[in-house]
Symmetry: C2
């Protein structure tokens, strides 16, 4: 088995992140594992707040609920988009005030709404009458906002019709919210995760402005426009800078709201967390299916059920780094280690890896600080969940 020269890994991409490289080089830990650098999260948070002026940033905890990351973001002044009681407990225990939490899941059990309310959460989303009635009963007097259906063309992890409702229904429900003793404060929408096109926010901002106007005619003055997340990471190719997204959203708000500018909120997850992490995996097997097959199959010790769930449909295509980069390469199919045939990472995407790649070689998967660890199965095929190490605590 070839010894991997860990020192040559990562440098190509995460240039400047000496700390992650040093961590990877410092020991032979059992793979797979994720290492995240909290300093990167702080940088990303500051980039966001620099680009989006007078905008409340609700970090989407689901992207990476690592407690130290939550603590750091709380210290930096972030608010939090939470999806469950466990995420609420996490944020509170890591120092966030409940006034900074937004219960951003449109699908909540009555008992979970009550749980949040009892802990001081006073901001909730909804997209249906049934949810609104639960909120009126279990979170009386709370601020509520309605999620609109939005198109997600252009997104690499697009959203379906699962969340949100039509604008005319949003108008009715927000009016009903007031009658139910709740405080209707605005609307939200989400244009799809890893959204590569900054102009995709415009149509939803236009719809939101219309909802604001119709409710103003009924004497209900909304104030909050929550533009969701979707701000991308450059997994392989560069993406537009975050300032381009801020500009596009501000331009859309000016165009559609005119002088009646709402308070803006965003819910970034991937943008803050993805670049914090490098996932170190190991090659388990390199093989061919027949003697005349020009594709090698490269099997890693992580796959779709070990944390790389976003490779479903080959949607998110991570950049890979090996110690043999620079050597001649050939096309590969990449797969995970389980006996499940859907546990294939990339079969259609044109990945190439060094021809002399061998079992035991490390493969570093970049941009894996978001949407990896919590997707990991509890133990499919008997493989343990993905471990995380944190560095950069003292940022």
């Amino acid at each position: 088995m070839a010894m991997t020269n860990g020192k040559t890994l990562v440098t190509m991409i995460a240039a400047g992140n000496r700390e992650i490289q040093d961590f990877l080089d410092s020991d032979q830990r059992e793979t797979p594992y994720l290492v995240i650098d909290l300093k990167v999260a702080a940088q990303q948070f500051r980039r966001l707040t620099g680009a989006f002026r007078e905008t409340t940033v609700f970090y989407a905890v689901k992207a990476n609920p690592q407690p130290k990351l939550i603590r750091q973001l709380a210290q930096l002044g972030s608010s939090f988009d939470v999806a469950s009681p466990a995420e609420i407990d996490l944020c509170l225990s890591e120092g966030a005030d409940p006034s900074r939490l937004s219960y951003g899941n449109t699908i909540k059990k009555a008992a979970d709404i009550r749980y949040a309310y009892d802990r001081g959460v006073r901001m909730f989303v909804f997209d249906s009458e049934a949810e609104l009635r639960k909120l009126a009963e279990h979170a009386p007097g709370s601020a509520v906002f309605c999620r609109l259906l939005a198109g997600s063309a252009g997104a690499q992890w697009p959203l379906s019709r699962k969340f949100g409702c039509a604008p005319d229904m949003a108008v009715s429900l927000l009016a009903q919210a007031r009658d139910l003793g709740l405080r209707p404060i605005g609307v939200s929408f989400h244009v799809g995760s890893q959204q590569l096109d900054p102009t995709r926010w415009d149509p939803s901002v236009a719809q939101a402005a219309q909802v604001f106007r119709e409710l103003a005619e009924r004497g209900i003055h909304l104030t909050l426009l929550n533009c969701g997340g979707g701000f991308p990471t450059g997994y392989q190719d560069p993406v537009a800078p975050i300032e381009a997204y801020a500009d596009a959203i501000n331009t859309a708000v000016e165009r559609h709201f005119g002088p009646y500018r709402p308070t803006l909120a965003i819910e970034p997850g991937r943008f803050i967390a993805a670049d914090t992490g490098v996932l170190r995996a190991q090659v388990v097997l390199v093989s061919q299916k027949s003697y005349d097959d020009d594709h090698r199959w490269v099997y890693l010790d992580i796959g779709r059920f070990g944390g790389l769930a976003e490779t479903e449909g080959e949607a998110i295509q991570y950049r890979l780094v090996t110690a043999r980069d620079g050597e001649p390469t050939g096309p590969v199919v990449l797969a995970g280690p389980t006996c499940d045939s859907v546990d294939i990472l990339y079969e259609k995407a044109p990945y190439r890896l060094p021809l002399d790649l061998e079992p035991g070689d490390y493969v570093d998967i970049l941009g894996t600080g978001a949407y990896t660890t919590t997707y990991s199965s509890v133990g499919f095929n008997g493989f343990a969940p993905l471990a995380t190490f944190c560095i950069g605590d003292n940022a």
Copy 2:
């Protein structure tokens, strides 16, 4: 919130399984959870061994590694198909002798092969030269069998080209196995999980027979034909009885092997475990996306990341039972509770549920004893992994 009359659940389908129904009725436990009846596993095991004479049954532990289930199957005389060191440890600690374990994952770390060997495992699969060389080094002298690529048309959870190699490669590698000091004993193949067509084994049996013949010409006499798993469960519609599968396989073996009948093995997982379990979930929300939409969205407290991974692509379509069955129904889209838009169970499949279904109602998902619990994420969106309760211990 409507009170659910738990007593009317399940009876429609799992008629005769009074015990599961009594368990569900006996308490208001926090949902979602799975209850499995070990007696059903024993019945299914006996059905298999009754249908497949003189065939070694290797239970595919990955289907459900519940320790009590493993212990019971060990007591019944089952052998075990294991995929990892953790599954090996589990089987040994539940009373299986290492001689009854087959390390059936074609993708094994060298250290994991050594781990298995050190614990007495002496039967291993491979489908590539690299894996064979690892086995020769770390499991010297062991019995090895080669997995053939197989078509999986007709399977509801089909297998890709991920596993297996072409027959001519299998011949070469099995010959090489002998030269490397291993004991080449046979071939395996897998025609896809939940395989509805018993005739699909025939082409692979034919290929296997050809491999046997070519090796016999080289003086290597294989003895084991491992026909894999794939034996289905009747999730919604009836499936052919297990005897039809046994007959089809025996007929194929007679046709292609003639008088030189090999020892048969099978690796059932779903067939043994699926019908043991009922997953109790709860309706979290029923909503519509607009006032003119005739589809209701029904959101449950379990979804693709809580254990129902096999609903990917709507592949496995479970039968659902509610306390309101018998009332008028309408079309629904079924989705899970997370903020992930791919967490949709059935959008194209024509599911209908009672029109008066409400948040808080129980929905029992049948046939969920296999391929559910271990797929469950460690905590995506902060939701806890799927809990399991076992009944029928004293079978």
